[in-house]
């Protein structure tokens, strides 16, 4: 059965983290997922949570209402977006007064939030909706035991009480996917640590130190590369890796890919189509396909 989702791009992925979007658009349709582009989405509101939480709830509700208008479930590839949307659903379902209030405001744009639609992230979409078996069928170039660290990102595993794509303390879905791609997922003690991105807005130095510390730990453990599943995390680990290295006085050279990029490579898709040229970390070290 074909799965159909509205692709909720958020802010960061469609405005700078193009590699994630490219690799998603390349891989998922081949695995039987239909992605529908919907007009009119806005920021999920999560980046504004420190400023005004009500704005966060409002923006998320607005985006959910747009999807609802098109009778579509939502695929949010960004961990922050996924948390904002899920938490918004949680609040509106638990608090009828809030739901009424928000709907009152949404009416101005002709929108309504009424039903809780499914909101998925890349990890549960691949693991629970597509399924390991189906992915296995599409693996054409297995990854030959590449030692890979999985970085989940805080927002897709916590807080568990509102339901997250994977377990909060022992997430294993990315590892399961990596295994089926022929890679060797490596367990490392820093797995659940933050990338630092939420501090970018006001304390960028500290944010990068956090990034640097995690990458350094991975490097010291001789792990060959890292995959992530969030544009914010990727921005830190890949796009800003050199800068992050400076904060911890280390020369970092950890290849970092989006999980969907690695998936695409294993499926035999070219690095170019998967946006590999946009990765700034030394992905060539992995010697995969046509990656230079």
């Amino acid at each position: 059965m074909k799965k159909k989702y509205s692709l909720f791009p958020g802010c960061l992925m469609p405005t700078e983290q193009y590699a994630y979007e490219l690799s998603i658009r390349e891989t998922l349709p081949l695995l039987g997922v239909e992605l529908v582009d919907v007009e009119g989405f806005s920021c999920c509101g999560e980046p504004m949570k420190s400023v005004n939480q009500l704005l966060t709830v409002y923006l998320s509700a607005r985006n959910l209402a747009i999807a609802e208008k098109h009778h579509l479930d939502v695929f949010a590839p960004c961990a922050m977006c996924h948390l904002a949307l899920t938490e918004c659903q949680h609040i509106l379902e638990e608090n009828p007064a809030m739901k009424e209030r928000i709907n009152g405001m949404l009416a101005a744009e002709g929108l309504q939030y009424t039903v809780k639609r499914q909101v998925v992230h890349t990890v549960d979409l691949l693991y629970d909706q597509v399924g390991i078996e189906k992915i296995k069928e599409h693996v054409k170039k297995p990854l030959n035991g590449l030692k890979i660290a999985a970085h989940y990102g805080c927002h897709i595993i916590r807080p568990s009480e509102i339901g997250r794509p994977d377990d909060s303390e022992n997430p294993q879905k990315i590892e399961a996917i990596l295994k089926v791609l022929g890679a060797e997922p490596v367990n490392y003690p820093q797995k659940l640590d933050c990338c630092g991105a939420p501090l970018l807005a006001n304390l960028p130095e500290s944010a990068l130190t956090k990034t640097g510390q995690k990458l350094q730990a991975i490097q010291e453990q001789g792990i060959q590369g890292m995959v992530d599943v969030c544009p914010w995390c990727h921005k830190m680990f890949d796009s800003r890796q050199t800068k992050a290295g400076e904060t911890v006085a280390a020369k970092l050279d950890v290849p970092v890919l989006y999980l969907t990029q690695l998936l695409g490579l294993a499926m035999g898709i070219s690095g170019e189509k998967l946006g590999l040229e946009l990765n700034l970390s030394p992905v060539e070290k992995l010697q995969l396909g046509d990656v230079k």
């Binding site: 469609p14 700078e16 704005l55 916590r158 807005a201 304390l203 944010a207 946009l278 700034l280």
Partner: protein, 175 residues
């Protein structure tokens, strides 16, 4: 009768405490009163080692009603929002949510918003997203934009005026 913090000669701000508790109850059903100061939050706080954030202390001060001190502090802006404190609290207290509420109160009270938050907010107001399409650099130092990669047009609010009206309305309201 009364409790006074002899260091600052401040009295607890029970009205502010009530406001914050209301806020939390509406959004997270969170009751900070239950905190018994085990400090598991601070033990695992991603920001603690770098920026000296002590979530358990934040909760202690909140319980004591010393809200002004918290709202006016810079330390509330050091939270990385990793959510470990909320996930692991044995009493279901969520320091991260308390911090969000404190930051909101700081903003509402007219305090200067640090960093790029204002810029992001303005961008949302004007086009719906925290930033517009960026030029990115490739491994071979080429610069590229979204359309050059064959990606479809950006999804963003169609009627910006209506969208702005909604946001302005929110800005006037309290949680």
């Amino acid at each position: 009768m009364s409790i006074i913090d002899l260091t600052s000669m401040g009295e607890p701000q029970s009205d502010l405490r009530k406001e914050l508790n209301d806020r939390l109850t509406k959004l997270q059903d969170e009751i900070s009163d239950y905190c018994f100061q085990c400090a598991k939050c601070t033990s695992g706080c991603e920001s603690h080692k770098l920026l000296e954030l002590e979530p358990h202390k934040i909760v202690a001060l909140l319980k004591r009603g010393l809200l002004n001190e918290l709202v006016n502090s810079d330390v509330i802006w050091t939270c990385m929002t990793c959510l470990k404190c909320r996930e692991r609290c044995p009493q279901r207290v969520a320091p991260v949510e308390i911090l969000f509420a404190l930051k909101n109160m700081a903003v509402a009270s007219g305090k200067q918003i640090p960093g790029k938050y204002t810029g992001m907010l303005q961008s949302i107001l004007s086009m719906g997203l925290i930033q517009d399409i960026q030029q990115t650099t490739t491994r071979t130092n080429k610069t590229l934009k979204r359309d050059e990669l064959g990606l479809p047009p950006l999804s963003k609010p169609i009627d910006v005026v209506k969208f702005q009206a909604g946001i302005m309305k929110i800005a006037m309201e309290k949680v």
